[in-house]
């Protein structure tokens, strides 16, 4: 009786070594290929060729003009929205945009207001994105996005 019991016990012991080897290999593979991905999103800009847009644009519906000026290092020195000087304050820009276009949702068939960004050539791209963020909306107290201007286009590049 005792002999039998010992034999059975030995049979039940599986050899784990090879499995653990593979499992560790898999683990090392996944750890090495792991990369924390930052969440990314897009600002959509619809810009057909200038000739086409002139043909279809309405004279009464002129876009707002945002002018961004930079120093030689590419740092923002001043902004102006429709000739209103805003300094380098993006909250002021947003407040002005709200004042000009309001926070009402545009009618379904209308596209809403349009803004044209005219920037100095050497301005850092991060400032442009910051400006686009300020004009296209904001997050309210409940973290909901309130949209302001959805149609964004660029003026001709300045050399």
């Amino acid at each position: 009786m005792r002999m039998r019991h010992e034999v059975e016990h030995e049979k039940n012991e599986l050899n784990m070594t090879s499995m653990i080897d593979i499992v560790f290999l898999l683990l090392v593979f996944f750890v090495m290929t792991f990369k924390i991905v930052e969440m990314e999103g897009d600002f959509t800009v619809r810009m057909p060729l200038a000739g086409d847009s002139n043909a279809t644009s309405d004279v009464t519906d002129l876009p707002l003009k945002l002018r961004l000026r930079a120093d030689n290092d590419g740092k923002l020195t001043s902004m102006s929205l429709n000739e209103i000087n805003l300094g380098t304050d993006f909250t002021k820009l947003r407040a002005n945009v709200i004042g000009l276009v309001g926070t009402d949702e545009p009618a379904e068939d209308a596209d809403g207001p349009e803004i044209e960004i005219d920037t100095d050539y050497n301005l850092r791209y991060a400032y442009v994105i910051q400006a686009i963020t300020s004009v296209s909306g904001y997050r309210d107290d409940t973290d909901q996005v309130v949209k302001l201007i959805e149609k964004i286009k660029f003026a001709k590049p300045r050399r």
């Binding site: 792991f34 999103g41 897009d42 800009v45 057909p48 050497n122 994105i129």
Partner: protein, 145 residues
């Protein structure tokens, strides 16, 4: 003698918890692994924005342009300048036309470095416009602060 023979048994530790943990780790890394690494480029540090959200569905017919700090444009692994970019874009558009789509259906995703000159991005848009492309997406990383 009987006591001695028991010693090897003591050395055999219970591997079950370790294997459990290892499998959990594998499951964790497997779920989080990102296969779409071709979309990113280590030379590009995106500007951040509080408004952008990851898109609910991927953009149709994307043409991804990475713009490095020095203005070099990377499209499909090849590097271009604003002067030579049109050749690369034409190649992409040939693929698009083979699928019976027009350039207007394509989405040009611009992943610009945060310190690149804005004029450089404008030039890229102008070159793309010359190829009849008209839908652009300026990519930024989500800023949750």
């Amino acid at each position: 003698m009987k006591v001695k023979s028991k010693k090897p048994n003591l050395a055999e530790g219970d591997l079950t918890p370790m294997i459990d943990m290892t499998f959990q780790l594998i499951a964790f890394f497997m779920v989080l692994i990102n296969f779409s690494q071709t979309e990113s480029n280590e030379r590009v540090v995106l500007p951040s924005s509080q408004l952008v959200k990851p898109p609910e569905k991927p953009l149709e017919f994307p043409i991804i342009l990475h713009v490095a700090k020095d203005g070099e444009i990377i499209l499909g692994g090849d590097s271009y300048t604003t002067e030579t970019l049109s050749t690369g874009l034409r190649r992409e558009l040939a693929v698009l036309r083979a699928e019976k789509k027009s350039p207007k259906d394509a989405n040009v995703i611009i992943r610009g470095h945060q310190d690149v000159a804005a004029g450089q991005v404008q030039e890229i848009i102008r070159v793309a416009q010359d190829q009849q492309l008209e839908q652009f997406a300026l990519r930024a990383k989500e800023d949750r602060s």
